[in-house]
Structures are given as structure tokens and as C-alpha cells.
């Protein structure tokens, strides 16, 4: 027994010779480009190819990075034209001094026109390769993806990191804000539900740029067919599940009020109506606080609370209904009704599966909102200017 260990230890020093050059998987850090964002755009010449832009973060120490922040940007954009992602990557690796380190990639941004054209073949590499990770964010850029990647931001130098931090804050508001490759892929695999991806646009000019999320791109199978505006996005998120900390402004003939929704969650019930169509019931219960009040003069205490909660319920219900109408107009099952049907009523689902689009367009959505108004902030009634303290 001891002899074997001596031999093994003796042979153990053999690999020393190999190590100086490093072995198969050994990539020194200074021989790597750290990819933080990938942008895919449709190329003008032939629509077969696509422009692949890789955003490389230049190694800089976050702490000491103050002095050269203004001058040179902290990112390099590597561009190439290729039919698929893998070709592009190999080409980039070939004619650049360093190989691409992809696991740190934060976001995949698709150009708007590429998205419209269909992306299944383009992103297959992201699902299959071990290097691409499933929690990469997927986004659609308004216009060209390359612009978003090469935007000069004041705060975080690298826009890829900026986006991932932005989405990180959003996901604090609601778990449904996660538009990752994983969710995109699971919806792609469903026969009926349509994947979504946030739309991102660049604001401001030359080196004072900022990034903004304004709406959700709606995909049918793998083609982008439409877009939800920012407000519709918010109400879509409401109807998908639980939301924390967002606000809603509502108009009413007596006055306008801004409500601060502390917690809202939606449960859905699927019912099949006699005539074969579907009826979906959204039971929404929300804790709402009054943020700002103007108007509603002459109402006090209980009566004021009642009207305000009624106002809140109507506005929530209205917002959700509009988004649903928009979805039906796009004929895209963004609410994953198909999946709920499959789970709850598998037999009927078999029948409906073929002509789901037609069934979806006839779905009737009934939204029942129950609002609780626990606190009204520091002051109870609306501030009636001028009355002063004559009555109570």
C-alpha cells in the first residue's frame, strides 16, 4: 500500500513539466476578452447574415477608475458579420489577440428589425452551448442593438452591467420582471404562449446617454409582432402575479388621485362557458395607499375612503382590460392562458389546442378587484385650501 502512494507521489511531479505551458482548459485571464453584452442586428446587404456586436469590458479597477473615466470608454465593441452566432464567435476568436470569455455575458440585445424577422435559428447557440448561461437577459433594442451597447453612460461605464443592475432593481418590484433566456425558452417551447422581451432605448446625447425600458416586445413563435407601451407593460405585470411597490394615477369627476400600490396579486380562474368559449376570471386584491389627492372636496372619513377605493378599483380594472384588449388585437397569448388551461383542464385543452388563436380571440376576461385602503398617509382628508378652521 505505501509503495503505491510513493510511486503516485513520485509521478505526481511529472505534470510539473506540462504545467508551465498550462493544460487544455487553462486560459490565463490576460488572454481573455470579458464579454458583457451581445448585440445582434440585421445586416443591410443580404438578409441572410447578421451583425454581431460583442461588448468587451476593458479591465479596470472599479475603485481607482476615476481619473480616466471621461477620456476613453471602458468598453470595446467587436463587430463581425456571420450567418449564425457560432460562426461569428469563431471568426472573432480567430482574428483577435484574445479568446472570448462568454459566461460573464449579462444581456443579449436583439435589433428591432432582426426581431421582426424571426430569431429561432439565431439564438439556438445560446440554448445549446455550455458557455452561454440560461439567466442571460434578453432584450429588444429600439433601432440598432449596437447603439445600446456602445452608449456612453455616466454612471456605470459598461452598459451591459447597467442593464443587468436595472433589471435587478425591477425584479425587486415583482418576480415577473424576469425576462431571461430561460423564460423566453420555456415560452418558446409551449405551443401557444408567446415570449416577451423588454424594449430598451437610448436617451440623451453623445457622452451623457442613459438607457430606458419603454415597453415589452411581443413575439409570436419567434417573430416579433407587436409592442406593449410602458403603461401596458405595468398592467401586464400586475395581471401576471404579485407586485410590490408601484403606483397608479386615476382620474375621476370629483378629482384626481395618485395611489401607491403597496402589494397587489392576481389569481386566475379558467372557466369554460356553455358556448365552448373561455372565460377567465382575474381576482385581484391590492393594498393601496393614497399617495396624492386633489379635488374630492367636501368628502370626509368613511365616505371618502369608499369613493377612493372605488376609484382605485375602477382604474386598475380599466388598465388591465386595455392591456388584454391589446393582447387580443395582437392575437398573442402573453398571459400564458394556454398553459393554465393545459394544467387545469387537460382534456378540453387537447380539443382546443389546434385552433387556439381563434379561441384566444374569443376569451372573455372578467376582472374582480378588491382594494384595501389601510392608511391615508399623514393627513386624512383632502387639503381644502381656504376653508381654514371654521367648522370642526
Amino acid at each position: 500500500m505505501k509503495k503505491l502512494v510513493k510511486i503516485v507521489l513520485l509521478l505526481g511531479c511529472f505534470p510539473f513539466l506540462l504545467l508551465l505551458s498550462g493544460c487544455w482548459d487553462n486560459h490565463e485571464l490576460d488572454t481573455l476578452f470579458i464579454v458583457t453584452g451581445i448585440g445582434l442586428d440585421k445586416s443591410e446587404e443580404n438578409n441572410e447574415d447578421m451583425n454581431i456586436a460583442l461588448q468587451i469590458g476593458k479591465p479596470h479597477s472599479e475603485s481607482g477608475g476615476s481619473e480616466e473615466s471621461g477620456a476613453s470608454s471602458a468598453t470595446i465593441i467587436m463587430e463581425t458579420k456571420a450567418k449564425t452566432m457560432l460562426e461569428g464567435l469563431n471568426e472573432l476568436n480567430r482574428n483577435s489577440s484574445r479568446t472570448m470569455l462568454l459566461p460573464h455575458n449579462q444581456v443579449l440585445i436583439l435589433g428591432e428589425d432582426l426581431a421582426k424577422e424571426g430569431i429561432e435559428s439565431r439564438i439556438d447557440w445560446f440554448l445549446r452551448s455550455q458557455e452561454a448561461r440560461l439567466e442571460v437577459l434578453i432584450m429588444v433594442a429600439e433601432g440598432e442593438a449596437k447603439e445600446v451597447l456602445s452608449a456612453q453612460l455616466q454612471q456605470d461605464q459598461i452598459s451591459g452591467m447597467y442593464i443587468s443592475r436595472m433589471m435587478q432593481d425591477l425584479s425587486r418590484i415583482s418576480d415577473n420582471y424576469e425576462f431571461r433566456m430561460f423564460d423566453f425558452m420555456s415560452r418558446l417551447r409551449d405551443e401557444t404562449s408567446s415570449p416577451m422581451a423588454p424594449i430598451i432605448s437610448v436617451t440623451g446625447e453623445d457622452d451623457k446617454k442613459g438607457l430606458k425600458i419603454d415597453g415589452l416586445a411581443v413575439f409570436k413563435n419567434d417573430k416579433m409582432i407587436g409592442q406593449l407601451t410602458a403603461d401596458e407593460m405595468i398592467s401586464y405585470i400586475w395581471s401576471m402575479g404579485s407586485v410590490k411597490r408601484c403606483n397608479i394615477t386615476s382620474e375621476h369627476e370629483k378629482g384626481s388621485a395618485v395611489f401607491n400600490i403597496e402589494k397587489l396579486n392576481t389569481k386566475r380562474k379558467m372557466e369554460i362557458k356553455s358556448d365552448g368559449n373561455l372565460k377567465v376570471v382575474f381576482e385581484v386584491d391590492a393594498n393601496v395607499e393614497i399617495g396624492e389627492l386633489s379635488g374630492f372636496d367636501g368628502l370626509q372619513g368613511q365616505e371618502l375612503a369608499a369613493t377612493l377605493s372605488q376609484v382605485a378599483e375602477d382604474s386598475i380594472q380599466q388598465r388591465m382590460q386595455d392591456t388584454f384588449k391589446k393582447a387580443q388585437s395582437l392575437n398573442a397569448d402573453i398571459y400564458e392562458f394556454g398553459v393554465s388551461m393545459k394544467r387545469r383542464h387537460p382534456d378540453e385543452w387537447e380539443k382546443m389546442k389546434e385552433n387556439w388563436d381563434e379561441v384566444f380571440s374569443h376569451i372573455e376576461l372578467d376582472i374582480q378587484v378588491k382594494v384595501k385602503l389601510p392608511t391615508t398617509g399623514k393627513i386624512v382628508e383632502p387639503l381644502e385650501i381656504g376653508e381654514g378652521n371654521d367648522e370642526n
Binding site: 505505501k2 510513493k6 498550462g22 470579458i34 479597477s61 459566461p103 452591467m161
Partner: protein, 541 residues
Amino acid sequence: MIFKFISRKIKFLLHAAKQKESDVEKEEPEKKEITKDSVKKQLSSNVSNLKKRLSNSSDLKIHYFRTGKDGCYTGALAFIDGLVSNTLITESILRPLTVWEAQSEQEPDEEKLMDGVIEQALCSGEIEKILELPQAVAGCLSGDTVLFMEGCASALVISTKGWDKRSVSEPQSETVVRGPREGFTENLRTNTSLIRRKIKSGKLHVENMKIGRKTQTDICLMYLEDVVSSDVIRTVKSRMKQLDVDAILESGYIEEYIEDAPLSPFPTVGYTEKPDVAAGKILEGRIAIIVDGTPFVLTAPMLFVESFQTTEDYYTRTIYASLMRVTRFIGYLITIFAPGIYISLSDFHQEIIPTTLLFTIANAREGTPFPVFVETLIMVFAFEIIREAGIRLPRPVGQAISIVGALVMGDAAVSAGLVGAPVVIVVAITAVSAFLVPSQSDSVSMLRVAMMALASFTGWYGLAMGSLAILLYLGSLTSFGVPYFDGFSWNHNLQDSLVRMPLWTMVKRPKYIAEGNITRIGKIDPPLRPHKKEEGEDEDL
């Protein structure tokens, strides 16, 4: 060419292993004295004989005296100056002899003269009558005085040891915040007395033996008879018996000759400089081997877990002691795996490092010429050099050197762009945490380099396989037949390994070591258990 080198190396290893088993072939026995070496009647021949045996060394002192009534009997004292205490000689031998009034008789009967000298004259405790000259030589060499009388064919060996000994002082290597500060000294008797003072039990068995042809060092085995395991005693004694070596100067010699796995990086024989540690080990059923001339006492058998146990664990409060025990384990893991992990992270799996940190590391590594493995190897080796220099230099200078060396060297290397900053940090942590487990510090530096090599070979997979190899090798080691590493299997040893359970729970002695009565805590009445509620506190009125 490489193959020849390898085969020569392997042959050497096998030769060393074979050489240990076959008993050491005997040195040709010492040249026997031509004349019979018994003590003669004439004094002069005895003395000259003695001188020849001690090769006429200058520090051999011979003192002739006359005793008996008006000096009728002549005799001679022989001793080695420096080994004996002169006051003892004058007090217990010379003064009484001059005063001794023995009647002179016609034909001086030999027996009566010697007995008379022993009973009436000398007043020293240890007197031994000998007939052979070699015994006289041995006595002389170990600090006794030899007394010859004219006309007697026997001699007396009187114990007058008295060389200057170092007083009991605080040991350098094992400093303690709380606990006794006394340490062992070079003298065998003081060491055994220090332990005797700790364990006042009749069962504490002390056994003497002399080993080493030239040095004749006395070695003493101490153990508790009713607790020590019989086969460990048998192995230790049998291995000590067949030790026919030239010299034993330090307990390290013994350790190497009798340990189970001579070529293993892990020590299987513990050593300590503090009597309370040695006493603790003896109480747990181990054997203490005390070697004359060195303050380091060996304790066998030693388990892997012992290197994480310090005496303070048992003197400080339980929770803090367990916390320190866990920190030592973590320190041990850091020392071995930290450089390996750094190499595998920065070379193979960059995805674990958070993105922002990755940029800083990449930035730091931008200009460095060497691959990470070579870089870490240089730094680890540099730190080893500094550490060794720190120890070898005299105390005040040593401290300064190690700190200054580390700082300057690290900083200069980074600014010169030779080495990345993270490497310096990692290697610094590794070097420092090596001191958490002092007794394993030699095995650690070897394992660390092996782990680094494996990590740069196939990343974390190499590390995983390397750690498994270590675990399995540890598991297969035994220390005097006792399994060295019991892999934290499910027995009451666990109480005192990763965590030190409160004293009143540790009822049984360590599993593999103790035999016989293994309960060390009798029936303790409640107050010592955790705070007992007063009776009837929970009942309702």
C-alpha cells in the same frame, strides 16, 4: 534518460524501505580487553586500567587518600570533573573517610574492609558495589564517583551527579495565554518529576532503558497501567528494544526510528514541551517517551485530530474553545487549498468570480509575465524562505526580518509588475494560516504545492481528486496500530475533534487509544450540569 533517473530514484526508495525492516546489521563488537576486566587487588593497576579505558582524557580526576586508624588503608577516588558536584564529593565521601577510625588488622579481610567503608564511613544514599571495570567506566561517565581500596578486588560507585542544569522555564515553542507556564528541561529526572507532580497515581508506571552504544542516553517510558492499551505498549517496547543504534541525541531520532510510516508527510508521533500537555496525553491512555538531554517529550500514538487540539481548549470556555477549534480546521484547509483554488478560479472557471471583481483581477494581472501557477509558486517559495530565515536568526532580529521581508518583497514584486496583487494576498493568507496548526506545518507546505500543481493541471477536478487522495492516504495511515484519521465516523471521538464538547459530557476516553477502565468522569451530582431549575418551578399552583 528520464526513465533511468526515475528507476534510480525508485530503487533508492525501495532500498530505504527494505533497509528499515531488515534489522540494522551489527557493528563489529567493541574490541575486548585482553586481560580480564574485573577489578584487581592492587590499586595502581586498577587506576591505570581505568585511565586506559577512558583514553586518558584530561578531565578524569584521580584522588588518592589514606584512611583508617592513622592512615593504614590507602584508596583512590576517580571521577570526571564537571559531571560531578564537588561539594557532594567532599561532604559525603572525603570528610567521613578522613575521620573513619578503623582498626588496622594483620591480614586485612577484603569483605569486611569494603562493608566497613560502606556502612560506617560513607554517608551517601546511592552506593553500589561492582566487580567489573566497564561498570566503573559507565558510572564515571554518568557522573558518579568510583572508589578503589588497596587490596580489595571490588570497587564502589557512589552517585554524585551534579552538573549545572537549566531551571524550569517557559517553553519558546508553545506559548499559552492561560494554563501552566512551566516547560520541560534537558534533565530527565526533572522532567519525570514534573509529570509525577501532575499525576500522583500509583498506576503511573515509569520504565527506564538505555539506548545508543556511544551515547547511552537514558530513555524513560511513562504511562498509566490500567488505561494504556496493551498492544500499543507491546509495539513501542518491541521497537525500542531492537534499536541498536550508535547515538540518540534528541527525541527526534527515536521518533523516526519507531514511527509507523517513516516516509509520510504526516507526523504520527506527537511531541510537546509542556508537562500539562504530556500529563493530559498520558491520562488519555497514551505513552510519554522522555529522552534525557532534550526538553521535547514524545507522546505516542498520535492522531490527526491531535494537531488541532491545544491545551488552552480545555482551559477556556467551551463555546469559545470550539470556535477556535473550527477556525483551526478552516485555517488548515485554507493553507492547503487557497493557492490551488486561486489558480483554478483565475485560470479555469472565471465564471464564479463576480463580474466586477473579475475586472479588478484582470486589471491586476494585465502586465504580469508568468502564468498564474508559476507566479504563485514563486511567491509561496519566497514566503517559505522568509519564514525559515525568521526562525533561524536570533529572536529579535528574526521577527523583524520576517515581517519586513514579507511586506517589502510583496509590495516591490507587485509594483515591478512581476506578480499580480491578488497572488500576494492569497499567498500571505496561506502563509499566515499555516501557523494555526504548528505540528502539521511541515506536511502542509508539501501538500500545498501538490494541490497547486493539480489545480493548474485540470482546475477544480484536479483539486477534488487531490483532496480525495489526501483523505484516503490519511485514512490508511496508522500510528502504532491505532487508525490515524477516523474520518469523523460515528463514535464518541467526535466529542473532542471538530468541536470541544463541555468537559462533563466527555465521559469516555478516546476510543482507539484507551483500554481497561475508560470512564474518566465518575458520577457528578447536578450542580455541575447546566443550570438545573429548582424543583417544582413548572408545576402550576
